[in-house]
Amino acid sequence: MSGIAERRGLAGLVESGGLLLAFALFVIFLLAPAVFVFKGSVENISVSLVASGGGLTLDNYAGILEDGYFHYVFNSLYICVAATGLACMIGLLAAYGLSRYRFPGRAFLFGAIMGGQFFPWIILVNPIFIVFARAGLINSHIGLILCYTAFITPFTIYLLTGYLATIPRSLDEAALMDGASRLQVIVLVIVPTMWPGLVAAATFGFLQSWSEYLLALALITDDGLKTIPLGLYQYFGDVQIDWGAVMAGSVVATLPTLLLFLPLQRKLVAGLTSGAVK
């Protein structure tokens, strides 16, 4: 809103004070939980009493290292990377097909893919569980990777069609004229041109699967196969909670997402609210 700068005197002062207070509340509300988690992760938290003033410590991190928490980290990393890679390949092909060809049912298909974004996965858990149980895919990383691929592909396609629309068709056509096949066009022309878009879509897919909890909960019971979200809740016992381990584990779980989010946020906003693809 303009006009604040021109307002002087008491009214201006009151207004600035109000905005400053609002800003302070904004910062406290949004940052405090993260700050306290980090603080908890480097403090000694006794199990029964209020946090004792033991100064800074890395014991909590050492503790989860010993517990095998990094096993969960490794499982998550490899499942999410595999699912993201698959989703990007499948999604790129589909996005290319949708944006470069006109064929009957195209709008319907695009609509169906978009519908996937809003599909309540909670109602798919029962049928998927039964199918997987019969196929021996319970406690299998392959099963989880396939689920996550299916889970993130719709949004990947949505983002990629948006980026493809910004690449002029004349670029593909020139390569086709030179005798390249469609697949060559995608690999040699499209991928290098839309690299930033592909990275954004991949990052988003990775983040989505990184924090997925429900399917992992239903499909993985073997401790050695669990992912980070399940591993974190191992520390919530029935009687007491190992807060130090939970805090350290939370920091480890969040750092990668925070780092990945930083360069991505503006692109995501544009992708989420730009409406249907042109």
């Binding site: 809103m1 303009s2 604040i4 700068a5 600035s16 905005l19 400053l20 609002a22 509300f29 949004l30 940052l31 405090a32 939980p33 993260a34 306290f36 988690v37 908890g40 938290i45 029964s48 209020v50 946090a51 499948i90 092909l93 589909a94 097909g97 060809y101 298909l109 169906a112 978009m114 809003f118 996965w121 909670i122 109602i123 798919l124 029962n126 049928p127 998927i128 569980f129 039964i130 199918v131 019969r134 689920c147 299916a150 983040l207 909890y213 429900l214 974190l232 807060w243 939970v246 805090m247 939370s250 779980a253 969040t254 997402t257 925070l258 946020q265 906003v269 989420l272 609210t273 409406g275």
Partner: protein
């Protein structure tokens, strides 16, 4: 070689879309219909291989007549969805206006504010729940410490176990985790409003409230309605927040449709009954989905015309 270019295109498009189609079929379409089939049986987790016997609409009748149905419906629609989403939109709008204000630019805090917004947004929901459980904790929690220190309370409050505080506490977690997306999207929309529009209105003597009400808000309406619908769909379907914050408790006090489906299937082992609840949920969702497509379609038209 005798194919027309149009036919060749169709074939290429078919092959490119085939993997996606198979994925959608295997993980969305088939399970949806299979879920429907399960909902008419009494299948349990203990007899997966044999399957269940057909029971007609018995599961639906049982759920819709069960004494907990009304509680679950109110919890899902009002507490989980309505309260969270409306507060998310209001707070998101206020945050966007704050971030867009000249005041923040004057104190050179705009970039910092955007970074602050990123923290809850980038936090995975599982961690968001942990962070707030830590803050709400009756023995270690900083909120209780602060309240005790100021003398506002004399006994620590177990926010997530107390009937009067448990829903607001869950709402707080959801709002903390989800509002940044709303705020950043609205901020992006705010920045597309032409300066001249606001200045022109000011010259015509519009007050700041009038300017907001008749210039800014209409500009934000398309983004607000899309965000509102997306948030309704995501929140209504959400399992993680309630499950990890309270496990649907204390007792079943915060039970919602998503947690009820999970509990019936994986605690009571009654897959058939649980699937029927899933179908009820899907029907409600389909209505919101249709609305979303109408609204986003409308927005697309406006983009093209405007």
């Amino acid at each position: 070689m005798t194919l027309t270019p149009a036919a060749r295109d169709r074939i290429s498009a078919f092959w490119m879309l085939l993997p996606t189609f198979l994925l959608l079929f295997a993980f969305y379409l088939y399970p949806t219909f299979y879920n429907l089939e399960l909902s008419f049986t009494d299948i349990t987790l203990l007899q997966l291989r044999q399957g269940g016997d057909p029971v007609g609409f018995a599961n639906y009748a049982e759920f819709l007549r069960s004494p907990s149905f009304l509680d679950i419906a109110i919890n899902t629609v009002f507490w989980l969805t309505f309260v969270s989403v409306s507060l998310m939109l209001i707070l998101g709008l206020l945050m966007a206006l704050l971030l867009n204000s000249e005041f923040l630019q004057r104190i050179r805090m705009t970039t910092f504010a955007r970074l602050v917004l990123l923290v809850p947004w980038a936090t995975p929901p599982v961690v968001a729940v942990i962070a707030w459980r830590w803050l709400f904790d009756p023995t270690h929690g900083s909120i209780n410490e602060a309240l005790l220190w100021t003398g506002l309370i004399s006994q620590p409050i177990a926010f997530l176990a107390n009937l009067t505080t448990v829903w607001p506490a869950i709402n707080t977690i959801i709002i903390w985790n989800s509002t940044p997306l709303v705020a950043v999207s609205l901020l992006a929309a705010l920045q597309t409003i032409p300066e001249e529009q606001i200045e022109a209105a000011e010259i015509d003597g519009a007050t700041r409230w009038q300017n907001f009400r008749f210039v800014t808000l209409p500009y934000l309406m398309p983004t607000l309605s899309i965000l509102g619908l997306m948030s309704v769909i995501w929140t209504f379907n959400n399992f993680v927040y309630v499950w990890l914050a309270t496990g649907a408790g204390p007792g079943t006090y915060t039970n919602v449709l998503a947690t009820e489906i999970y509990i019936r299937a994986f605690t009571d082992l009654r897959i058939g009954y649980s699937s029927a609840i899933g179908v009820v949920m899907a029907v409600v969702m389909a209505a919101f989905g249709a609305l979303y497509f109408r609204v986003s379609g409308l927005m697309d038209m406006q983009d093209r015309v405007g």
